[in-house]
Structures are given as structure tokens and as C-alpha cells.
């Protein structure tokens, strides 16, 4: 049961990833694209967790942890670039 659920979940998250990709390609506003990318990061975290569960190995959680911790840095930087041009002032 769990195995099926895991694969369904992974499929759903993958689908979500595609939807993010569509928004990223489509835009139209810069904000939309940044949201899409930020959401992609979160979805990739979900996928990493699911891959870990499917493999029965918690070894990948550090990757998810790291992504949760630093993934937003690029989002912020992209935003700051639009807002200020200079991301470090």
C-alpha cells in the first residue's frame, strides 16, 4: 500500500514540477517566474524525501535539508536583483 502511495505521491510531485515549469516558461511577469522557480525548489525537496523513502534510505535527507536552507537564497537574490540591481550593497 505504502509503495503504491509512494509512487502516486512521486508522480503527483513530478506533475507539480511540470506545472511549475510551465509557469516558469510562460511568465508573464518576472514575479511569476520567480515564484515558479521557488516552488520548484520546494517540489524538488519533496521529491528527494520521496526518493529517500522509496529507497528506504535516510541518507538523502541532508540534501533536502540543505535545499530547504539555502534554496531560498537564490530566490531572494533574484528578487533583490530586480528590486535593486545590486544584490549586495
Amino acid at each position: 500500500m505504502i509503495a503504491v502511495a509512494l509512487h502516486i505521491a512521486a508522480g503527483a510531485v513530478a506533475l507539480a514540477l511540470l506545472l511549475n515549469g510551465w509557469r516558469l516558461l510562460r511568465g508573464p511577469a518576472l514575479g511569476d517566474r520567480i515564484v515558479a522557480l521557488d516552488t520548484m525548489v520546494i517540489n524538488v525537496i519533496a521529491l528527494i524525501v520521496l526518493v529517500g523513502m522509496i529507497g528506504g534510505d535516510d541518507i538523502y535527507f541532508e540534501a533536502a535539508l540543505l535545499l530547504a536552507m539555502v534554496g531560498f537564497v537564490s530566490t531572494i537574490a533574484y528578487c533583490k536583483f530586480v528590486l535593486r540591481g545590486d544584490i549586495v550593497e
Binding site: 500500500m1 505504502i2 502511495a5 509512494l6 502516486i8 505521491a9 512521486a10 503527483a12 510531485v13 506533475l15 507539480a16 514540477l17 506545472l19 511549475n20 510551465w22 509557469r23 508573464p28 511577469a29 518576472l30 514575479g31 511569476d32 520567480i34 515564484v35 515558479a36 521557488d38 516552488t39 520546494i42 517540489n43 525537496i45 519533496a46 524525501v49 520521496l50 529517500g52 523513502m53 528506504g56 535516510d58 535527507f61 541532508e62 533536502a64 535539508l65 530547504a68 536552507m69 534554496g71 531560498f72 530566490t75 531572494i76 528578487c79 533583490k80 530586480v82 528590486l83
Partner: protein, 137 residues
């Protein structure tokens, strides 16, 4: 593994995945940037939260180990997600103000001014001694 854990894990997985998917679906179908921002910041937090919880239970029940990293993942997401949303909203406000985007279908339209003698920080640099300015001292 107990049936209970089995059901809990399955349920949490499906729930979490659904929320993740719905959040991303919202990103696709909602009408303008500010609305789209709601999808990811909320749906995905719970979505991911549920998946993480499923993982905790799963590893405990399946492999007999307590994994706590899921909690940390959630913690970091709870800290960072509002910041991302805030910054993206600022981008939106800024682009709207400088006329870089025209969104007739944006339901909320342009934001109202906070008060007579002040504007939003994105449009007006915070004055000295305000909380926004003292943050950086």
C-alpha cells in the same frame, strides 16, 4: 509495521502529494502574480509537511529508526518561505509601480497607501529609527 502506521503513512503521503500538486496547480491557474503567490506559500508548506511526517512515521515503523531531519526541513521551510513570498511580492509591487507589468486581470489592483505621510518600504526607503531601519544596525 502496524496497520495503523501503514494507513497513516499512506494517508499522509497522498495528502501531502495532493497539496503539493494543488499548490502548483494554483500557480498555473490563478489569474495574476499576487494570487499565484498563495499557492506555493501555503499548499506546499502543508504538502511538504505531510510528506515529511509520513517519512518520520515510515522510517520509525519500517526501519525502526527515528529520523529527525524531517522536522528540521520543515523548520527551515517555515523560516524561509515567508521571506521568499515577501520578496516576490515586493518585486511585484515594484514592477507594478514602475510600469513594467500591466495586469488588467489582477483582481486586487494596485495597493492602497498605508497613510498620508508614508508609503510602502518598497517605494520609500524606511526612515531612520523605524523598525525597518533599525533592523540593520
Amino acid at each position: 509495521m502496524t496497520i495503523l502506521a501503514d494507513i497513516a503513512v499512506t494517508g499522509l503521503l497522498l495528502l501531502g502529494a495532493s497539496f503539493v500538486l494543488i499548490g502548483s496547480w494554483g500557480l498555473v491557474r490563478l489569474p495574476s502574480t499576487m494570487e499565484r503567490l498563495h499557492g506555493p506559500t501555503k499548499a506546499t508548506t502543508l504538502g511538504l509537511g505531510a510528506l515529511l511526517l509520513a517519512s518520520v512515521i515510515y522510517f520509525r515503523a519500517e526501519l525502526g529508526v527515528w529520523t529527525a531531519h524531517e522536522l528540521l526541513i520543515a523548520l527551515f521551510l517555515f523560516i524561509t518561505a515567508p521571506i521568499s513570498a515577501n520578496m516576490i511580492a515586493k518585486v511585484h509591487l515594484h514592477r507594478l509601480r514602475v510600469g513594467a507589468i500591466h495586469e488588467p486581470d489582477s483582481i486586487a489592483g494596485a495597493p492602497p497607501r498605508p497613510s498620508e505621510d508614508s508609503d510602502w518600504a518598497t517605494f520609500e526607503a524606511p526612515a531612520r529609527d523605524t523598525p525597518a531601519a533599525t533592523a540593520n544596525t
